[in-house]
């Protein structure tokens, strides 16, 4: 079990949030001790997460943390060594019944380079029971993306939009996107995310999204739920606003933190000769007045947990003073 893990993100948060499907907080994804071992390495260890329906969840972590493995397990493209997953109420498997409600966009946006966007849209119509070809064409036309040119001749941003439009044409209830914006320039990234959030707003039956990325600033604006993986394990999982509210940055004189640790969980502690900077998960509202308490940003929170999971890899991010 993981010390930093939040296995059970709230039940009563945004009740009456506007959209009925959001207030019910049914789960779209629920995994229990999901583990994937390959011959040499363990890609995912004891992964227990819950993603409520209607959320856009950020799947964050350094390279090799297990993000792609988790997404592949959720689609049934890979099968777990142990543990279980429930996705939209079903066990992930590669069959049309299960996959009908799931859109998946792999890391490199796999498209047939010589075929046009329109070829892809037509092919999708043959392969899927439910297929909104008209909506895909409208979306791409709005973005001024040529439907009749080989997708190999399009820009990276345009190809990503074609991939997203195809995934959305299924009218999925769950969309799994593996680093879709990593290779895009800022403007193409913004357009991609705008297409994504608009699709979420438009989805009448509710759409849940899991979006893996390393670009935290993008995620902060788009996502309302976080899954943080590091060293193949879940470090954090829950509602982003709640996670931010539960954590605090403390800056104060260098002093013993034993008393503080009795009440709060210290996620990361950085000490210089004179100063202590702590990222804590509060166990109680009251805090030692010797410290100045500051709100934490999503980036600081993510870095703190990544640093705590792999101290050696992130040592250069902080100036750790001599222990005197």
């Amino acid at each position: 079990m993981n010390a930093g893990m939040d296995g059970n993100p709230r039940a009563d948060g945004p009740a009456g949030f506007g959209r009925p499907e959001a207030s019910r907080e049914n789960t779209a994804i629920e995994t229990a001790a999901l583990t994937k071992r390959y011959r040499r390495a363990t890609a995912l260890t004891d992964c227990t997460v819950i993603v409520p329906q209607g959320r856009i969840s950020a799947l964050v972590g350094p390279n090799g943390a297990g993000k792609s493995t988790l997404l592949r397990l959720l689609t049934g493209l890979a099968s777990p060594t142990s543990g279980s997953a429930l996705v939209l109420g079903g066990t992930p498997r590669q069959d049309p019944g299960f996959l009908a409600d799931i859109g998946y966009l792999a890391q490199d946006v796999p498209l047939y380079r010589r075929l046009s966007a329109d070829d892809h849209i037509r092919a999708g119509g043959y392969l899927n029971q439910r297929w909104d070809a008209a909506a895909a064409r409208v979306r791409l036309r709005e973005l001024a993306i040529p439907l009749d040119r080989a997708v190999g001749t399009l820009s990276g941003g345009q190809r990503a939009q074609v991939g997203l439009s195809l995934a959305l044409a299924k009218r999925p209830r769950l969309l799994l996107l593996d680093e879709p914006v990593a290779a895009l320039d800022p403007l193409a990234r913004r357009h991609f995310l705008s297409t994504l959030t608009t699709a979420t707003a438009d989805a009448e039956d509710g759409l849940t999204v899991v979006l893996s990325s390393r670009l935290i600033a993008d995620l902060e604006r788009v996502c309302d739920h976080l899954i943080l993986l590091a060293e193949s394990r879940v470090q954090l999982c829950g509602d982003i606003d709640e996670l931010l509210a539960e954590h605090t940055v403390l800056v104060g004189p260098r002093k013993d933190t034993t008393a503080l640790e009795r009440t709060h969980t210290v996620v990361l502690s950085t000490k210089t000769a004179r100063q202590t900077t702590l990222v804590i998960r509060r166990g109680a509202p009251l805090i030692d007045p010797a410290y100045q308490a500051e709100d934490i940003s999503l980036e600081e929170l993510v870095l703190a947990y990544m640093g705590a999971a792999a101290p050696a890899a992130y040592a250069h991010l902080s100036t750790v003073g001599d222990e005197q």
Partner: protein, 136 residues
């Protein structure tokens, strides 16, 4: 109608940025009673934020009594936040602008001006501040 901005790096949660921008627009008179706020879909398409973020911001404003949701129509301004009218804001803004000009004339850069402002705001009574001691 106002248009929103969301800064992903500001450290302020996106929903709060939206709330603050509506309050600011109301104080400055950019938005007035009866005006409609952009729909969730419009905001989402414009600034690429989560629809739940916009809903949360609008709900906060509704709880404050500043806006009201009308079924099937959208969200409308109900009243302005407490405080002086927009004319006072623009008058104070103009005198602040004169002060900033003077400060720049004395060679202060923006960072120095901002920290001076912060220190002044934090001191219990700005009229009897520590500045005579030569701290600044």
């Amino acid at each position: 109608m106002i248009s929103f901005r969301v800064d992903g790096r500001s450290g302020v949660p996106p929903y709060l940025q939206l709330v603050q921008q509506v309050r600011q627009a109301l104080r400055m008179g950019v938005l007035d009673v009866g005006d409609q706020l952009p729909t969730v879909r419009e905001v989402v398409a414009e600034v690429a934020v989560n629809p739940n973020t916009v809903l949360k911001a609008y709900r906060d404003l509704e709880r404050e009594g500043l806006v009201e949701a009308r079924a099937g129509q959208g969200t409308f301004v109900r009243r302005r936040p407490a405080g002086p009218p927009p004319t006072t804001h623009s008058r104070l803004g103009r005198s602040l602008a004169r002060w900033v000009l003077e400060a720049r004339g004395e060679g202060l850069d923006d960072e120095a001006i901002e920290s001076l402002l912060k220190v002044t705001l934090r001191s219990a009574d700005p009229a009897v501040s520590d500045f005579d001691e030569g701290i600044a």
